[in-house]
Amino acid sequence: MNPKNTPLPSNPTNPIIEVRDFNFMYGSAQALYDISLDIGEKEVTALIGPSGCGKSTFLRCFNRMNDLIDNTRIPGGTIKISDVDIYHKDIDVIELRKHVGMVFQKSNPFPKSIYENIAYGLRIQGIKRKNEIDQVVEECLRGAALWDEVKDRLSDSALGMSGGQQQRLCIARALAVKPKIILMDEPCSALDPVATAKVEELIHVLKENYTIVIVTHNMQQAARLSDRTAFFYLGKLIEYGPNEQVFMNPENPKTEAYVSGRFG
């Protein structure tokens, strides 16, 4: 873990994701241009930039969620995760998505009990023994800082939880498949400040064991939560560096304008 206040090296020394000259197209519209960056293992990396700049598109490239969209294409570039080219033809995408979990903007628990929301994924993985499932459910709920709040009502519907609790349940669900990387697309945008603070605290704890990439429109959130931030504009990576650089002394005037709210 990065001890507070010590500046990070300008590039991650232990990259888990390596992106090189990566391009992405929706039909004939190019959404990402020549992106190259390294994402550090067990770091929190924030993706920021104005609406439509390609943050979500880029995030979805890490677990190939874009494959589910028709007519998309990668005209050039590579993404390697733990040294493996994830767009290689031999890649098992289902296996990839186990390694790279995702949490969405709108929490989307299944309309089932709190318990089942997590147990479901475990059964799909072939875990059948009840006591093993019980144990993992508890681990995940603890991991998502939710256990104490829900341990007495595991059989209640997940839809009866508060928005913040639902979002942490989705994080717990993502943890169940033991991913290495967790992608989060604006996980707090529908939450009040207290629920947001709880999710941020959780993310801070999770980074001891997981690599987290988070898209956020909230600049303060990016600044306080992440180790590094990447600023995108019109599908291009404008600046990427430790937060001390991006928020205190950005190199690019566009970044300066954006983080100080003077954009446009």
Binding site: K4, N5, A197, E201, H204, A223, R224, N243, E244, M248
Partner: protein
Amino acid sequence: MQRYFHDELQDLRNKLILLGEKSHEAARLSVESLLDNDLEQAEKTLALDDSIDALEKEIGHACTRYISLRSPVSTDLRLILVALKASHDFERVGDEAHTIARKTRDILTREGRFKPSLKIREMSRLSCKLIHDAITCFVEEDIEKAKAVIALDREVDALNNYHYEALASKELKKALTDASRFDAILVSKAIERIGDHAKNLANEVIFLLNGD
């Protein structure tokens, strides 16, 4: 709710207290070395100055970082503002101590000892006590003690005035060289400034604790 980054505020407080202790030490050593004719101790005081400056810079950086990355408000923000101002006051205390130590080196190499001791020791003890109390009222969040520091600073001022008058008197004009009298005025003035910084620090603690 305690947030993970609040630890950084605790670090900042600790650094500020450390800086306070260093500058207090420098102030004490500088006058002692002068009155005890201790050249070695004067050199030690001079050496403290770099670490004081470095620590002030470190605190300034930590404050800018905290403001940029943590968006502090209310008490957290006041702590940052106070850390910026207080670290500057401590650094200035260090500067005054540095001035006294440099003077000490000059005087001791030129004359072997400092003759016009007057009430310098008493005055220095008082201003060092004020620095010490200013640190304590910050640590203990004690407004009454802060107010006491502000009140006591007047006594330091009074001793400084006493020195000015004494050094202008016929007797001392006869007994001391102009250079010695000039040195004494400089030293007295530096100690008086240390008291002023203690008073500033006390005001900063009051601002921290009740916002005005």
